[in-house]
Symmetry: C2
Subunit: 233 residues, 2 copies
């Protein structure tokens, strides 16, 4: 099964359109034809079962046969991940976290991040592919924060703050439960002392992922899986 994506503004009660990359992918790579039945999501919880009615170069029109609405699974997870220089590692982390259910992703420049910029367009395209690949119906929002404070201050009041900390013992770890969780993972090299103070001042709780040293992307994937999927020890 292939899942396509369209923005909510291209959906009317009876018809929806795929445009740009999605239309190209549908017609040139997957070679859909008029009359084919396809699944489309608006990235906002709706799954449309459609019949393709018109195909133009960059525009595909579909008749909506039926719609199902999925509720977002609780807890809402905002993953905050330190910028890592190797682009494939960052994109891999993001891809896996979306597959596992992250609802929002913020990449921040940590004090220990190596120089280098994030290509936000590439991260967004990774997020979109991962959503479709894993048949998820909510498109995670992606943003960049210039530092850790900017990332965590953007959260709502009811969002709990949890950070992966390799310096604490597993026995000391605490679990914050809640409907909205912000999970923070530092870059390679971990948090600076100043970042650690910020996390504590903002009420952050340290979570140990185990006694061994994990790479940033591994920490991001396991903390997302554990919190989103209710696997806490």
């Amino acid at each position: 099964m292939n899942l396509f994506y369209t923005t909510p503004d291209l959906v009317t009660p009876k018809l929806l359109r795929l445009t740009d990359q999605e239309a190209k992918h549908a017609t040139r790579v997957l070679r859909i034809r008029t009359g084919d039945q396809i699944f489309v999501t608006d990235g906002n919880g709706k799954l449309f079962n459609c019949s393709v009615s018109e195909i133009h170069k960059n525009d595909v029109t579909c008749e909506i046969l039926d719609v199902t609405l999925e509720e977002r699974k609780s807890p809402y997870i905002t993953l905050v991940i330190g910028l890592i220089k190797k682009r494939d590692r960052l994109e891999f982390a993001v891809e896996k976290c979306v597959e596992l259910g992250a609802d929002e992703i913020i990449v921040f420049r940590g004090d220990h991040s190596e120089k280098g910029n994030v290509r936000l367009d590439r991260v967004e395209s990774t997020v979109l592919s991962a959503m479709k690949q894993s048949l998820r119906l909510f498109l995670p929002k992606v943003s960049f924060a210039k530092d850790l404070s900017a990332a965590i201050d953007a959260r709502g009041k009811s969002m709990s703050l949890i950070y992966a900390d390799e310096t604490i013992d597993k026995g000391e770890t605490q679990h914050l439960l809640g409907d909205q969780l912000m999970l923070v993972v530092g870059p390679e090299g971990g948090f600076s002392e100043s970042e650690r103070s910020i996390l504590k001042e903002r009420g952050g709780v340290a979570y140990s992922l185990g006694e061994k040293r994990l790479r940033t992307e591994t920490a991001a994937v396991t903390i997302t899986d554990r919190y989103k999927n209710g696997l806490l020890l």
Copy 2:
């Protein structure tokens, strides 16, 4: 902290040697000098605290200052993963599973594996790097099996068989506990009917990783983390 690796045959009661790639890496990349204190593991649970005594081109001799012995953490996990064509995805899966504690890795050619060969030397080198990076002291064994039967028949009698199955409901999932677990993850495209029969005939138990579709490498990483680190629902 950097961790180096040497094979048990290069260790005597008072001295040990680093050779080949490890010696080159130590001298040329990390630029160790005579008198430096370094940590070395034999990949078999021993951690040597050493002082570098002699440096030659491809051979470094170290004096052993003290040794600590770590016990292997139970359960012993053999990860059996279907060959995936994209080499970086396979190597990524292997790297993450080693970081998370997999004890042994078998790559098998699944009925749905796309054509392509596995470069076992590259997988081994990924395993070695991941062990050192995560400061683990047990070097996972890596092997290739021509098909699923060959992979699972190699296991010992007391090893339980668990396979990631996306076709069952989470409610139906069972947990097999034990000291020795073989965790099987299919290639992209999943298991064939014949492979499914083999898994059932051999007493395999299906485990659901959730209701969404996960890529092979994501399934491998999460099932390893969940079973090795005791995170079962």
